[in-house]
């Protein structure tokens, strides 16, 4: 019969909605409201996985996110296979496909379990001690073997087809955890009108109230109080409730990362919905109501399937209507475990014994257990367990001897550890309370811990604590709030068990279930000299698994403290780090993948270029047309043709990405004079100047054209990749150094489409399109600018060249760019011209010896190194970087200077960055290649290089260290085409 371990009635599951699912291929049934873990238990399945190191059979330990054992793979189809999900958090849906992990060939018979037999050979840190010899075997044999054996689960092997989104949110009060304390806080805060976000990692709000069957709050059953509270919160207009949402990280100034699992629990989710949503919440006040995690007991054989946390058992019985066994033993170190015993008893499970580890069991709950007829024995010790794939019996020691009790369920109640993860991430420093364990000590501004996570246990106390803190947080955020209070009945107080170190026993007592670390391993580490808890942690890997030691850290700490004979508070806690539970990479990436990975900037002419079959290259975020191959042409042929056309007739080029800054104001000329090395104050309106910008260090930062439009208005260009840097630099000087200047800077990079027309017939090409401007070389000489109309729209026409040919750059409003381009193209085409791309532009400028900042320069190149010293205004008192130019090392001999290199073999092309040496065999470079292109015009490679004392080496032979060996090259002038500039001014 299906679900034979289901109780007859009760629980929060919907018995009218059965759901089919499979585990390791076996079909089973559960109910809506189940987790995978509760549904498996309802079907009598405890064995769900194999452990990491020893491949020991493991079962379900917990009922929440702290689960260390029950890690499963969920398969939602191609690309949607997710490993290492906690079965205790996976919500059941119809058709769910789950598989166990870390076993082969099957869960019940796992070949890897041989490592369990080899355990004596695999002590803690064995990988530091073995595999040392022979040395070469590490890479070839040991590492591949270990890599295959190690790791949990299978990584997905295809792209994730799901969507993930992110959002930012702000609120007055963020409540993390919707148990009794969190809900009381949320109720108080929401009632004040504050903006409240409440999140909880579970599918349902309520926390421990979901497994509460007895208590009454404010005169009504707890479940009814919960219903009423949720209804109020849902009705509060400024309150957002996020179920299935984990607060995984606390970041500076109350920025909290939340991960909302939107669709995993749905059998057929709406395809419009993202799988997960990552929230970045900025909260005025954060209330952490993270609850507490029950500690397992450390005794030999404590890891067999069927050995569970007592609180989890209570939850499975009460919330999910599941009987996790037929005959139970409850090992109690505090009163709370009795609640599990009572719940089991009420559900018809035989409770063979409550073995209380304390000397006496006197509280209200032990009495209730006795009254119910449950045998209670105090002064007990769990000596060991038996059973292979499921616990079969428990051996319990008493002062008078041992008793072996047959049981298929052993509940461990080792006390509760406050969840300090977020508090600790927020830089809170805990203190050690002898009765509770670690609790918050130092205040964190804007963050309040409430309820069990700060050591406040007991339903009435938690509600009061939450209500008070919620009201206080709302008031600090500026709202009038008051906390409610409720009378709580029938919630017997639990004597809290202080954490204590387990006694030494024989056999393996597991502390960290996920990383298979035993008490013995920890003691061994301390014997080997590890005393700091941080070192013990790293050496033994305790607490370093994907669960980050939620169930193990405090136990490990107790064992280490005992072993080194130090108080627990002196040993200290290890650091908690985000994420609280694993976060998928998809959620962290959000929509920033594929086309949205990074913005792709395109010009107004991009579509035209694409239609012409252009090949594009990335320049910063821009896409620039690299060349325009015609049918049958490869890039090499196309670039050669484009270059030839520009030299012989005319070429058309999209220079829109050029950075542009409009510098306006009465003092604009003074400002530019101070920024650039050049003399610019005397630049006449209508004229342009090539200008170089240095940093404070004296090194070249940028170059461009400064065009003066009128007395108080300049149009300045920068390199494509430098636009933001130059504007920022200029703003910095304008605002902080020279605030007295009346000058304002505006980026106009995107305002203007720039259509460059270059070549001997450039003037002829544009003449019919330009209105009211005399284009003759006398009226509009090289380095001039005019505001005019081109093709009937407002334009700024520059007579400038980056090719060495007659050149014009037509600036028109970007929205007009394409239309003007098309008209210019018609003219250029009519003259036999061509459109060219950035590759030809590079070749043409290199033939002419024009530098590109960022290519010829690397941040350590001076203006003199580039041979551009002539640009410096000699009479200028100052400009940015001037003082640095007199630094001895900037003026010293031996600096690398820009030269051309003529390679012996005209057919060879060096690569940029190749080293240059004085002799073929030299190992010390005297320079490096900065640019190298094949050039049809020159008939050999055009090579620019920075070479030590290069200008004094003209005619010398140096060697370029090519991949195939050294290649001789003659040092020459970098200007190879039209050194006199006759073509430029033609």
């Amino acid at each position: 019969m299906s679900q034979r371990f289901r109780t007859a009635a009760g629980g929060r599951i919907d018995r009218a909605r059965p759901l089919g699912f499979s585990f390791d291929g076996r079909g089973m049934e559960g109910f809506a409201g189940d987790t995978l873990a509760s549904a498996l238990l309802a079907n009598g399945v405890h064995l769900v996985g194999r452990s990491f190191k020893y491949h020991r059979p493991r079962g379900i330990l917990a009922a929440g996110s702290e689960e260390p054992n029950a890690l499963v793979e969920i398969d939602r189809g191609a690309g949607r296979r997710t490993p290492n999900l906690r079965a205790t958090q996976v919500e059941l849906h119809d058709g769910l496909v789950a598989r166990s992990q870390n076993r082969w060939p099957s869960l019940a018979f796992d070949a890897g379990a041989v490592s369990d037999r080899l355990a004596p050979l695999l002590p803690t840190g064995f990988y530091y001690k073995t595999f040392l010899w022979p040395p070469r075997a590490w890479a070839r044999l040991y590492e591949p073997l270990i890599r295959r054996a190690a790791g949990l689960g299978r990584a997905p092997d295809t792209a994730d087809p799901d969507r993930y989104v992110q959002c930012y949110a702000h609120c007055d009060v963020l409540v993390i955890g919707a148990g009794p304390a969190g809900l009381a806080a949320a109720r108080a805060a929401a009632g004040s009108g504050a903006r409240v976000i409440v999140c909880d990692e579970g599918a349902e709000f309520g926390g421990s109230l979901l497994a509460e069957e007895r208590a009454r709050i404010g005169g009504v059953p707890a479940a009814e109080w919960l219903r009423d509270t949720l209804a109020r919160l849902e009705a509060a207009p400024e309150t957002v409730l996020l179920a299935r949402t984990t607060a995984f990280g606390y970041y500076a100034q109350n920025m909290v990362g939340l991960i909302e699992r939107v669709t995993d629990h749905l059998a057929a989710p709406d395809p419009a919905l993202p799988r997960e949503r990552l929230w970045q919440v900025r909260a005025r006040e954060v209330i952490v109501a993270a609850g507490s995690i029950e500690r397992p007991l450390v005794f030999p054989g404590n890891d067999r399937p069927g050995i569970m946390l007592a609180g989890a058992v209570q939850s499975y019985v009460v919330r999910y209507g599941v009987r996790p066994g037929r005959r139970a033993v409850v090992a109690a170190e505090g009163d709370s475990a009795y609640r599990a015993a009572l719940a089991l008893h009420a559900a018809g499970v035989e409770v063979a014994m409550v073995a209380d580890l304390r000397d006496a069991a006197e509280g209200a709950l032990p009495q209730m257990a006795r009254d119910a007829g449950i045998p209670v024995r105090s002064g007990a010790t769990i000596v060991g367990t038996a059973g292979r794939l499921r616990v079969r019996s428990v051996t319990i020691g008493f002062s008078g001897g041992r008793e072996r009790v047959a049981a298929d369920l052993l509940c461990m109640g080792g006390g509760w550890t406050p969840s300090l993860h977020l508090y600790s991430q927020a830089r809170g420093r805990p203190r050690h309370d002898p009765t509770i364990g670690f609790v918050p000590r130092t205040p964190v501004p804007g963050l309040t811990c409430v309820g069990a996570c700060r050591g406040v246990f007991g339903l009435a106390e938690m509600l009061a604590d939450g209500a008070q803190a919620g009201a206080a947080a709302a008031m600090r955020a500026g709202f009038a709030a008051s906390g409610e209070s409720w009378a709580v009945e029938d919630a017997p107080s639990c004597e809290c068990a202080p954490p204590r170190a387990p006694g030494p026993g024989s056999g393996r007592a597991f502390v960290d279930f996920q990383n298979d670390v035993t008490a013995k391993d920890l003691r061994l580490a301390t014997r080997e000299g590890f005393r700091s808890i941080e070192h013990v942690k790293r050496y033994t890997t305790t607490g370093m698994a994907t669960d980050q030691g939620k169930t193990s850290n405090v136990n490990a700490l107790g064992i280490v403290a005992q072993a080194v004979a130090a108080p627990v508070e002196a040993v200290g806690l290890t650091t908690f780090r985000p994420p609280y539970t694993p976060v998928s990479f998809g959620a962290l990436a959000g929509v920033a993948r594929g086309a949205l990975f990074d913005p792709v900037r395109t010009t107004a002419i991009h579509g035209w270029a694409a239609a012409q079959g252009a090949l594009f290259e990335d320049v910063g975020a821009w896409k620039r047309a690299r060349c325009f191959p015609r049918a049958g042409e490869d890039m090499h042929v196309a670039v050669a043709r484009e270059c030839r056309t520009v030299r012989e007739t005319v070429g058309l080029f999209d220079a829109s990405t050029l950075g542009k800054i409009e510098v306006v104001g009465r003092d604009a000329a003074v400002f530019l004079e101070r920024m650039y090395v050049n003399a610019l104050a005397n630049l006449a309106p209508g004229r342009c100047r090539y200008a170089v910008l240095l940093g404070e260090s004296g090194f070249v930062r940028d170059d461009g054209i400064v065009g003066r439009l009128s007395a108080d208005r300049f149009h300045v260009t920068t390199g494509t990749g430098n636009a933001a840097l130059v504007l920022g630099l200029m703003e910095d000087y304008s605002q902080t150094e020279w605030p007295e200047l009346q000058v304002w800077l505006t980026s106009v990079t995107e305002q203007w489409a720039v259509i460059a027309v270059q070549g001997p017939r450039a003037r002829e090409a544009i003449a019919p399109l330009v209105e009211d401007v005399d284009l003759s070389r006398q009226a509009l000489p090289h380095m001039s600018v005019r505001s005019c109309q081109v093709c009937g729209v407002a334009a700024r026409l520059f007579a400038v060249s980056f090719t060495g040919e007659i050149g014009f750059e037509i600036n028109v409003g970007a929205d007009h760019g394409l239309a003007v381009w098309e008209q210019v193209w018609e003219r250029v085409q009519g003259l036999g011209g061509a459109v060219y791309g950035t590759e030809a532009m590079h070749v043409l400028r290199a033939e002419k010896g024009y530098v590109i900042v960022g290519q010829e320069t690397d941040g350590t190149v001076t203006i003199d190194d580039l041979g551009l010293g002539w640009a410096i205004g000699r009479k200028k008192q100052d400009f940015v970087g001037k003082r640095s130019l007199s630094r001895p090392d900037l003026a010293a001999a031996g600096r690398r200077q820009l030269v051309g290199l003529a390679l012996d073999d005209a057919s060879r092309l060096p690569e940029e960055g190749m080293q240059v040496t004085a002799a073929a065999q030299d190992r010390t470079a005297i320079g490096h290649v900065t640019s190298a292109y094949g050039s049809g015009t020159v008939g050999r490679a055009v090579v620019m290089a920075l070479v030590a004392d290069g200008r004094a080496r003209m005619g010398e032979i140096v060697f370029v260290q090519m991949t195939a060996g050294a290649m001789a090259a003659r040092v020459c002038d970098p200007v190879l085409v039209d050194p006199e500039g006759a073509r430029l001014h033609g």
Partner: protein, 169 residues
């Protein structure tokens, strides 16, 4: 040649999703105004982050000496008398109109600011980011935002908003 004007997002159909609609606004003039408010022929708001609506247009105060004038006929706004600068940026940016109950939620997919109506009420403006694009944001009404984005980032922002509009909550 107005019939041959091409905006960065010409021809795209509005993004219509549950609770939010995004559309491209018709073209209008823009200018950056810098300097003393008194230097300009148009009355300028003096509170940083505030907007003064002028007929069909608006002036956004983005800094103590910085304004963005939207849809104010160019002649008037570009006239400067005194310590100030006006620069035509009509083609530099593209504008989007985002309306609907989830308009703020859509922007918050990529904008880290608090866009609650009490924190960023109608008539507010600011320079901020959305995803990896810089934007200027002006809240025209509780459920209506005007977004200015640099021309070359418009396609990215559009795709970003379209992707995030799906399944918005």
């Amino acid at each position: 040649m107005d019939d041959r004007v091409r905006g960065a997002l010409d021809g795209v159909a509005p993004i219509e999703a549950a609770g939010v609609t995004v559309s491209v606004t018709p073209r209008f003039d823009r200018a950056v105004l810098r300097g003393d408010a008194a230097a300009f022929g148009v009355g300028l708001p003096d509170q940083v982050g505030s907007v003064a609506e002028r007929d069909a247009g608006a002036v956004l105060c983005l800094g103590p000496d910085e304004w963005l004038a939207l849809a104010i006929p160019g002649g008037a706004v570009l006239r400067v008398a005194g310590a100030g600068a006006a620069v035509d940026v009509g083609h530099r940016q593209t504008a989007l109109d985002i309306t609907g109950r989830l308009a703020a939620a859509l922007l918050n997919a990529g904008c880290p600011l608090d866009l609650h109506v009490t924190a960023f009420p109608p008539g507010s403006c600011t320079r901020t980011v959305c995803g990896k694009a810089e934007i200027v944001l002006w809240r025209r009404a509780a459920e209506r935002f005007h977004v200015e984005v640099a021309r070359s980032y418009a396609a990215y922002l559009w795709a970003f908003l379209a992707e995030n509009a799906r399944g918005l909550r």
